[in-house]
Symmetry: C3
Subunit: 159 residues, 3 copies
């Protein structure tokens, strides 16, 4: 009797071990960390060098470096060093800077999509080895110069 | 007797738990998902604006935006919005679009390599949190303007 | 008595399974692989085409392709094909090549930071599915043309 129960215990545990560790089976989609913040991007357009936070550094033959290529900015490549704030006010004290590069790679304007998901693929410091998804939405869009992105981060791998 | 067996059961299970969960031990290399498709890339060369799907947006000093830099396109940066098909026919109904950017960063022509592996580092929707390897092979290469990539995706982390 | 012990064994094992497999709990920060090497970067400045290993391929309106944009190279985009050596000697036999692209995206010179961490997000071959952190430090910096990066790689996910 005792042996039979033991076998069952072992079998159950093996089953659980396998179902929770295999890379091939669905895992929990409950985030281990959630964050919300805002990026403020002021594009250089030729006359705002002092307060611009981003600049076009590559463009297709039909584009230039002071205005988005037409149509839909396709082919424009932007380097940015944008302040990050916790609310949607450009003048709130920044909690960090968003630094990097992005490209316009679709023929319909991606800023006009309601939301778009991008992958969070790594991190350092507090976000050591993090993975997850960031949902971007264009919170404000003023002419071709200023836009504000709301960024909802959901991490599913935390260390 | 019962106690001895229990201890063995526990030990075996611990062993299994540890060997399958540690990040330091080899894991299964059997894919959890496999996909094959084709990218069709028509490079803008100055006179094909209407049907081009990609454009040179950056190039070294010795290059320009309507032809690959010589030799081996080193330093050319391309933004693309390519149709994806399930077979190798450019005119098959596209199942999606490949959008992004790539750079030529080696002095021997990478398109002429037999195959090359790149990492799949994340995804959204059906490919939420996916990781794996994509094997690229140049399936066709016509002049400097059209090439077709066969893409074999093998995912090893599925959620 | 036997039943009570069995229950405890099962419970303990379940606990261990959960604590070691959940994505939400801290995992070991002991690397599964460590590597050190050096990148040697010789930037094209207009008169060194023969031995240059990298070139500016994008720059902001106020920059150009033969010298870094001022100040801090902000907006410069570089494609590189740099030799990798195991010691800090440019003339040691290379063990590989570092190929890719980087952008200067901050207003203070990032090369002057003591160290900076970047994420290792994937790999192929011996580094199949690897993840970890690379710590970069500028080991030498000669004028605007040559710099040497020391790269300390620590992998925390090995397959």
């Amino acid at each position: 009797m005792a042996d039979k129960t033991q076998t069952r215990a072992l079998f159950l545990c093996l089953l659980i071990c396998i179902s929770t560790t295999s890379g091939n089976k669905p895992r929990s989609r409950r985030p281990c960390k959630e964050l919300v913040f805002y990026f403020h991007d002021i594009l250089y357009h030729g006359y705002n060098y002092q307060n611009a936070t981003s600049a076009i550094v590559g463009s297709p033959k039909w584009g230039n470096k002071t205005a988005w290529a037409q149509p839909f900015a396709f082919g424009d490549l932007i380097v940015f060093d944008d302040p990050i704030t916790l609310d949607n006010n450009l003048h709130s004290p920044p909690v960090g800077r968003a630094q990097g590069m992005y490209a316009f790679a679709q023929r319909t304007d991606p800023l006009m999509n309601k939301t778009r998901d991008i992958s969070v693929i790594g991190g350092t410091g507090d976000f050591f080895m993090a993975r997850g998804v960031a949902t971007l939405s264009t919170d404000a869009f003023e002419g071709e110069v200023y836009f504000r992105l709301r960024v909802d981060i959901r991490l599913y791998e935390c260390w």
